[in-house]
């Protein structure tokens, strides 16, 4: 990555189109709140995509993958053609993944283009064309729009002494081909060993533990339809984090986050397996480090109830 690219991104990411997605208006409410609060504290601007729709999540593709491509393309079409935004940012891994997947399919697959053109025409809006927009994750936004040096200067309440396992999940890195900007050498994100969240939290003073299950699956697709497998997968992640010495698992996806919370409770209730590790969105941790109150980043909404731990660490 050249140095001009880094500077470009710093400028380009100051003001981006924001696609929260359905989960951030429901169970992921605290993620939405903390993402907005962190952006505001760092002087970054978000313009919510007008009249956005669901990206299709994990479910619509199983009914028909091209309907999912259309759903994501409509969001991108509004951001690009109506708001004339160069960049759209999605904090939810599912939304981010689907927008990236649609971008890839529209660039490489003629039949996807044909279906999107056809449905867009009937729906009465311009079709999205590959290349019109850059889709980024909230991690890219903060890593490149602010950076660790700037973040370090802005930290007023260091997370020092807080042991964190960084959990990225599936949709942020897999499959590799839909993320052409990843695995591009120094400075870029890695799909096998992602580190953007580690970098940002380290800059905020946190002590990142060596966590081997960064990109393991929480069974989010079947959280409710195959709960027993999801509970086993989540318990594995929680136990590995505790074994690595973590007090907190930092998350970056509302599906992973609520999956971890739900199955932590379910493992306790159904299997009698109790784990103590707390689950927080990484944006909640960053917000606290920037001097925001635990309540203003929604920490009281978390089912794993991290307030006591935060108080003990002098962070709440």
């Amino acid at each position: 990555m050249s140095s001009t690219d880094v500077t470009d991104k710093k400028v380009r990411y100051q003001r981006v189109a924001y696609y929260p997605g359905c989960a951030l208006e429901g169970t992921g409410h605290a993620y939405n709140q903390s993402t907005r609060a962190v952006g505001k504290a760092l002087g970054l601007k978000l313009d919510e995509v007008r009249d956005w729709n669901c990206c299709g999540a994990m479910e619509v593709k199983n009914i028909d993958p091209k309907v999912q491509t259309y759903l994501s393309s409509r969001v991108m079409s509004i951001a690009a053609n109506e708001m004339h935004a160069p960049v759209v940012m999605a904090p939810c891994n599912g939304c981010y993944h689907n927008l990236k997947k649609a971008e890839y399919d529209l660039a490489h697959d003629a039949s996807s283009r044909e279906v999107v053109d056809r449905i867009s025409a009937k729906a009465g809006h311009a079709p999205y064309r590959a290349g019109q927009l850059e889709t980024i994750h909230v991690l890219d936004w903060l890593k490149h729009g602010v950076g660790e040096d700037e973040l370090r200067r802005r930290v007023s309440k260091s997370l020092e002494g807080l042991k964190v396992a960084n959990y990225y999940g599936c949709m942020y890195t897999r499959p590799r081909h839909i993320f052409p900007e990843k695995d591009q050498g120094a400075g870029s994100e890695s799909t096998s060993k992602p580190h953007f969240m580690d970098d940002l939290l380290a800059a905020a003073g946190a002590e990142n533990v060596e966590f081997p299950l960064k990109t393991a699956c929480c069974g989010g697709a079947h959280t409710l339809s195959d709960s027993d497998i999801s509970t086993k997968l989540v318990l594995n992640i929680l136990r590995a984090a505790e074994a690595a010495g973590a007090e907190v698992i930092a998350t970056e996806c509302p599906t992973c986050h609520s999956g971890l919370e739900m199955h932590q409770v379910r493992a306790e209730k159904v299997l009698g397996e109790r784990t103590k590790v707390k689950i927080l969105y990484f944006t909640q941790l960053l917000g606290i480090a920037l001097g925001l109150s635990a309540r203003s980043v929604g920490a009281h909404e978390n089912a794993s109830d991290p307030l006591e731990l935060l108080k003990k660490k002098g962070l709440a």
């Binding site: 199983n62 009914i63 449905i119 599936c170 339809s225 997968l233 909404e301």
Partner: protein, 262 residues
Amino acid sequence: MPIHEKSLIRPENIQAHDKLVLDGVDVSGHWSTFIQSRVVSDYNERLQEEIAALPGGEYIHRCWQCGSCTNACTVNAVNPDFNPRFWIYLIRMGMESELMRDKDIIWQCVSCHKCTYACPRDVVPEGVMKATAHWLELKGHTKKSASTLFDEEFSEQVIATGKIEEGRVIRNFFARTGQPLMQDWLVEMAKRIARRLPIKFGIRMGLSALIRPRTRRWSKARDAITSYVAEQEQKQREALGLGDPVPARSEAAATTPNAKGV
């Protein structure tokens, strides 16, 4: 990297005799174990073609059986019978009756994409799993899985209003699968969330039950998607040599524009 072997010898076909004398020679015990032979003769020569006609199955022909998918598989680590490499082998060989032995677990793929990440031939094994689960349901070999019922509930809401409301998806999914909503762990979960925000939580729950979130300027998109989905369903049924669908509850809802919502 180890390739996960799948023994074609079935435990129930292994025969040993505790006491057996043949021609005056005592051959009791495990050393005389033999395997009952079996013959597979009911090949479905169109099996690969049928799976390839469903979304996700398009690239199954590329597989060269390296086993990277099974090696990487999240569900295989929990249940060793979940073996994508083996199922792709059976489908490509047309061994439908062998595939049927695992018909009730194929839907359990969690779409973590580890297989797709690992596959050196771009087979997209995750897609093949979805196509196979879909094929089993279309052919009537299995009932609709809990996962399919969830996907249908979710997709119907998205198509009808442009958005989902999670509480509604969960309530309707539990109703469709006949599960009680008041399960121990769900009640505990709700309690833990409510502990810190009793008033706001109650208000939000109440509001979401009354006011359904919806995307503005959505109705034309809804109609366009609805007719596209119906067209694809018809194509898929034709590819599998099936007649018109029996109008089950969920299918009827999926193909009818549900403007007013549930």
